[in-house]
Amino acid sequence: MNRRQRRKNVTAGLFLAPSLCGVCLFSVLPFGDVVRRSFLDARGYAFVGMQNFRIVWGNGAFRLAVANTLRFMITVIPVLFVFSLYLSILIAQSKKGQRLFRISLVLPIVIPAAAIILVWKILFCTDGFFNQVLSFISKRKWDLDWVNGQTAFLVLTVTYLWKNTGYDLLLWLAGLSAIPESLYDAARVDGAGSLAQIRYVILPCLRGTMGLVMVLSVVNSFRVYREAYLLAGSYPDLSIYMLPHLFSHWFITLDVQKMSTAAVMLVVGAGIAMGIFYAIVAGIKHKDGHFSAF
């Protein structure tokens, strides 16, 4: 280990220490407690080994919640990913009104959920706006209850997309802004049209951002619970019954051990998924000399 490396390590330690201490205290420690509880009984005293895992794994409600959560993520995240990326490229290339578009698309993130929910109800209730429009167009009375029924999943998806497009957009834009002008010039000199530039300049440079967006999208997809709860209550249509619903109910009946167990399984699952994802991506990386922690 040369002197440079040693100095780097010391600096790393110094820079990292403050963050590490706090993170251990406020995140790792509680998580450790959660792991501990997954091996104890409800009251938190008796050790029950893997019993909780068996119970939760075989629990019908858990399976449904996991299935729905996965279904939601698989549906929504790719759509969001591509759509927000597309929009960010559009915004980057449009000359006029760029700022206006940016701000417009970012606004939904900022609106408090409770405030926008009534608007959603106005649009989606049985006497709501969409039903009126559909009735007008089809000359037939439409009084579909969008939120409770087969369309519940659709409504939730739309809600999530509406709210979070701006979020991912911000991240893409930050990533885009880091691409040096020189690369574009080089591509143009080589005769690349706009599509080619996207393929050979933008996408590669955004690879790191992709990982960022992916992870954050997963994290945010759990946050949709707040909107789902406000719109459809504790026990919504079965198609949108997801993990946070279950966690909340277990919490209310004080089944903390089940909640902890499910959480551990969630983290393990996420870890595995992440590992696979980065394994795939890593194979394509390192060509451009960027080194990354991923």
Binding site: Q5, K8, T11, A12, F15, L16, P18, S19, L20, G22, V23, L25, F26, V28, L29, Y86, I89, L90, I91, A92, Q93, K95, R99, L100, I103, S104, L107, P108, V110, I111, P112, A113, A114, A115, L118, V119, W120, I122, D127, Q132, G166, L170, L171, A174, S177, A178, P180, S182, G193, S194, L195, F222, R223, R226, P244, F247, F251, A263, M274, A293
Partner: protein, 293 residues
């Protein structure tokens, strides 16, 4: 914003991107439509609001009479909110107390950590970083009791610190900033080392300027999250006087619907302003990146 302008000398507009403007406008419209409904509703007197939205408010069955403009514009809701609800200001202030110190803390604690993950190779870096990421995935409910116990041991419950301290050490900003630091061009860093800069100086001279977009993004997103946080305050703050603004927003109730909308709009203003400010810094950051080719 760097202008990515593909068809400089060509008149032929790429179909892929000309449809683009149309799509952008549609998206913007989709965003503004509900928002304008909200704004209109907040400017309506209570009785008009009730008349229009009987059904969603659960009063009676009647078709919704939607409108982007109030028939009888009135500032009652805002007046009631800003002048007659002293609780609102207290909560606003609480939100400020809880959010700004947290952001500052995130800056001081998280930025060096992010730099470390991005540029400084040390053993176990990858695994530690992955841990940081995994910790973000858990919904709050799961760790609620455990967090409560930790905060209780530290005697922080029922005080502003119970929200500020855990927030400072959230791994979320580190995650975002790391990515942005990674994108810093290696050439610049090498140049700094050649000039004889130590690690710390390299961080300040190269890291922060090039990582600007990431830092600002992290701060803006962090602000938005903290400003709208609901679960932590209810769990940790028993004393209603410490409650932040996000808890003020009542569930929309019949006789206070307009005020609720007004509150929502007022709540939105600080994050929007912050974002507008931050935007500028994003652009500045790029302009000063100093890469000369």
């Amino acid at each position: 914003m760097k202008e990515f302008y593909p068809y400089k000398n060509k008149q032929r507009k790429n179909r892929f991107l000309s449809v683009g403007t149309f799509i952008l406008m549609v998206s913007a419209f989709l965003v503004w439509f509900p928002l304008l409904l909200m704004v209109a509703a907040s400017l309506m007197p209570e009785d008009e609001l009730l008349w229009r939205y009987l059904s969603p408010l659960g009063i009676a069955k009647a078709p919704v009479r939607i409108s982007l403009l109030p028939s009888y514009p009135s500032c009652e809701a805002f007046i009631e909110l800003l002048l007659r609800s002293p609780g609102f200001f207290v909560m606003f202030w609480n939100s400020c107390i809880q959010v700004f110190p947290m952001l500052l803390g995130q800056l001081f604690v998280g930025t060096p950590a992010a730099w470390t993950f991005a540029r400084l190779d040390f053993p176990g870096r990858q695994w530690l970083f992955r841990l940081y990421v995994l910790l973000m995935v858990l919904p709050f409910q799961v760790t609620q009791v455990s967090n409560y116990l930790v905060l209780d041991q530290m005697n922080l419950l029922n005080s502003h610190l119970s929200l500020i301290l855990p927030g400072i050490w959230s791994t979320f900003p580190v995650f975002i900033m790391t990515r942005s630091f990674e994108a810093a061009p290696k050439a610049l860093l090498e140049a700094a080392y050649l000039d004889g800069a130590g690690e710390v100086r390299a961080f300040f001279l190269v890291g922060i300027p090039t990582g600007y977009p990431g830092i600002v993004t992290a701060l803006v997103l962090g602000f938005i999250d903290a400003w709208n946080t609901l679960e932590q305050p209810i769990a940790y703050l028993k004393d209603m006087q410490l409650w932040p603004l996000s808890l003020y927003l009542p569930d929309i109730v019949q006789d206070k619907a307009a005020v609720a909308f007004a509150a929502g709009i007022v709540m939105m203003i600080p994050p929007v302003l912050l974002y507008l400010n931050g935007e500028g810094k994003l652009e500045q950051g790029i302009a000063s990146s100093g890469v000369k080719e």
